[in-house]
């Protein structure tokens, strides 16, 4: 048997060896694919872990009271800074971009041939929805620059002394205003329409702080690579749609670095604006120099046609008063966070209802789809809601609006009856 055995083995030998060889080669081949898989793993781990590691560990700062922190903000005299701001707004509206433009006073871009796409008011309304990257630079009270970074384009608003320039690089159009009045207006356009920098946002929030509000220091955080205290502002009253406002304040300079407004209903922040980079050095002087490029279409603010300028005069500077006159009797009910503005619809009529026949059925359907029908002691009406602001339009033409819940609106309407 032995020879047969050996013969067998010797006969089998090469075949088995080749099989083993094949298997090994196969394994070696498979082993090569470990390399790309490992590369994917390392890349995924890096993407996942690096931000987590960088975030970990809130800075260790000495304890401070809310009062001291607010004083720190008030005492802050940062005149020079430059940085990048990321602002995300989620009001729960479908898309504000186009609609908001037409709401902007002083001529939106819609259907207005002579309107310039560089007009600051129209442009800044765009910031009210979505996520935007902004750059801010400031050097003293006379020189500021705010840029909105778009894809392969940029919108810049530059103030240098009493010159205000706005430049839209996508359409190569510029908007120019001079003189104290306009300069002031251009300056004001930013905080009033959309508070753009964390500082302005924080000031707005702190203005509202009184006995209706709880203000606490809520630990520390790292913002834009700087150590910061977190100031937490919460309404004490119930019925407000505002959940909490959190402001991160730079521990060294007292400059607000990040502003977050979360709704009471939970979910993502309604407004989240914060520096991603900040530098307190003096920005280069050339940052604030602007002269329109050759061939750019320049709209002078006082170069508008006579009629338009009349409109401009009527609307823009006095828009508040006009609004009040137009919407007979603007009143504010309640105080603090639960303040509700109430006014009559122009013409003293409610929204067209299904039976009245003065609205196209499609429009009626649209209105119904947008709002919720409610009724109470006041009668009945429609509530239009966003994540922050709710408005109740009653059938007899009264409007109640505020950053409060639907129930609070109905209650206010009942009380007003």
């Amino acid at each position: 048997m032995a020879p047969y055995e050996s013969g067998n083995t010797s006969a089998e030998g090469p075949g088995a060896a080749a099989e083993v060889e094949d298997l090994r080669a196969g394994r070696r081949r498979a082993a090569r694919y470990v390399v790309p898989v490992a590369v994917v793993g390392v890349a995924a781990a890096t993407i996942g872990l690096v931000p987590a590691l960088a975030d970990s560990g809130d800075p260790d700062l000495p304890k401070i009271s809310a009062q001291e922190l607010i004083e720190k903000i008030a005492a802050s005299d940062v005149q020079q800074l430059s940085g990048t701001v990321k602002i995300s707004t989620d009001l729960g509206l479908p898309s504000l971009g186009g609609v908001a433009g037409s709401f902007a006073p002083g001529g939106g871009p819609s259907g207005d041939d002579s309107g310039s796409s560089a007009d600051p008011q129209a442009k800044l309304m765009e910031l009210a929805s979505g996520t935007h990257t902004l750059r801010v630079a400031a050097d003293g009270p006379d020189k500021q620059k705010l840029s909105v970074l778009d894809d392969a384009a940029e919108y810049s608003l530059i103030r240098n002394g009493d010159e205000v320039w706005a430049y839209d690089s996508a359409s190569n159009e510029a908007y120019h205003a001079t003189g104290a009045e306009h300069a002031e207006k251009g300056d004001k356009a930013v905080p009033e329409d959309v508070p753009a920098t964390p500082k302005e946002l924080a000031e707005e929030a702190l203005k509202a702080a009184d006995d209706t509000t709880s203000v606490t220091v809520d630990g520390t955080a790292q913002v834009a690579g700087r150590d910061a205290y977190k100031l937490l502002i919460k309404p004490k009253q119930s019925g407000s749609t505002v959940g909490a406002i959190s402001v991160a304040v730079d521990a060294k300079t007292g400059t607000p670095l990040k502003f977050t407004l979360t709704p009471a209903s939970g979910g993502a922040a309604v407004v989240d604006a914060g520096f991603t980079k900040v530098d307190f050095a003096k920005p280069a002087a050339s940052t604030f120099d602007f002269s329109p490029p050759k061939g750019a279409k320049v709209t002078e603010s006082d170069e508008l046609t006579a009629q338009e300028s009349q409109e401009f005069q009527d609307k823009a500077p006095k828009s508040g008063e006009e609004l009040e006159e137009g919407l007979s009797g603007l009143k504010v009910i309640g105080e603090g966070w639960n303040a509700i503005a109430t006014f009559e619809m122009p013409g003293g009529q409610g929204l067209p209802s299904a039976g009245s026949g003065d609205a196209a059925p499609e429009a009626q359907q649209l209105l119904d789809a947008l709002g919720d029908k409610v009724s109470g002691k006041f009668g009945s009406g429609t509530v239009f809601s966003t994540r922050l602001v709710n408005a109740l339009v009653t059938d007899d033409g009264k409007v109640y609006a505020g950053a409060v819940t639907k129930d609070a609106l109905v209650k206010a309407a009942d009380a007003a009856k």
Binding site: R32, A43, D151, E154, N172
Partner: protein, 305 residues
């Protein structure tokens, strides 16, 4: 590829292999690279691709010139923001034609050309039956693959520079040159403008390395050059479409094409680096992943053609 072409290719192929000089291996590698370069750039299809790419700035330039010649202050599209980036500034400064042309070709023309070259790299050789001759030479598969990738990258650079130089020439001929305004509204001199144009061209070329690695990997999977090119270009189009769907925003930052247009950030003052570094990082990851996948596949593959 015609019969004559193939013979020519074979002749070029055998040239470096004929005098094997193992003593000077380094030089030999460069020899392989050089022969690959000449083979690639002598192909009619490569020259045709470069010709098409060079034609894009000419078309854009002439179109803008015609549209603005009668109207005085002409603006592309009227609405502002229509058309490729920077198109509104071309009439005032020819240098902007470089940026517009790169913005116009980067989403499709350039990567398509890269896809053709990269897809053809291995599969094309296999298809033409020249791959085994290449491997007969003691170069090793890894080195051949590296050479192929280097050649594709060289093509990325050449293709981008062809677009840029053609655009600069057309821009200088049709439009005035001079001091230019960055998109942030500040002014820079002509010299710095040219420097930024060069930087932008380099960034655009680097943006294509990811798709080049992808094409090379696809090329190792098949023996049909056409199939490899079609797959690469198909993948490119698919990714470009997926990048437009808002519901997919969570995964879009990981697409190789997502940050391509970030080269425009070089025209801001100061330069906004965030997206640029993200773009280069994504390209490096794609090059590493698909480069090593191509290596794993190619070094383990049975070469039958």
């Amino acid at each position: 590829m015609s019969q004559a072409d193939e013979t020519a290719v074979l002749a070029t192929r055998s040239a470096p292999a004929a005098p094997p000089a193992p003593a000077v291996r380094r030089l030999w590698t460069l020899g392989l690279f050089r022969s690959e370069l000449t083979t690639t750039f002598r192909r009619w299809r490569t020259l045709a691709l470069l010709g098409v790419l060079a034609g894009v700035p000419v078309l854009v330039g002439i179109a803008v010139k015609i549209e603005t010649s009668d109207g005085g202050v002409g603006r592309g599209g009227g609405g502002g923001g229509a058309g490729p980036a920077f198109i509104a500034q071309i009439t005032n400064n020819g240098l902007f034609l470089v940026f517009t042309s790169l913005a116009a070709t980067l989403p499709f023309f350039l990567p398509m050309a890269i896809g053709v070259i990269a897809g053809d790299a291995i599969a094309g050789e296999a298809n033409a039956g020249t791959l085994r001759y290449l491997l007969v030479a003691p170069a090793g598969r890894t080195r051949l693959l590296l050479t192929k990738y280097a050649t594709t990258m060289a093509f990325c650079l050449v293709a981008t520079l062809v677009v840029a130089v053609s655009a600069l020439t057309v821009g200088a001929l049709l439009f005035p040159l001079g001091e230019l305004t960055t998109i942030s509204g500040t002014r820079i001199g002509m010299g710095e403008g040219l420097l930024r144009a060069l930087l932008i061209a380099l960034v655009v070329a680097a943006s294509l390395t990811g798709v080049a690695a992808l094409g090379l990997f696809v090329s190792t999977l098949t023996n049909s050059g056409i199939a490899a090119m079609a797959t690469t270009v198909g993948l490119l189009i698919t990714v470009q479409i997926l990048d437009q769907i808002p519901q997919l925003h969570a995964i879009q930052p990981y697409f190789f094409s997502h940050y391509w247009l970030s080269f425009a950030d070089l025209m801001r003052e100061p330069v906004y680096w965030d997206d640029l570094t993200r773009n280069l990082g994504i390209q490096a990851v794609y090059a590493a992943v698909f480069g090593s996948a191509a290596w794993a596949r190619f070094t383990a593959k049975d070469i039958t053609a």
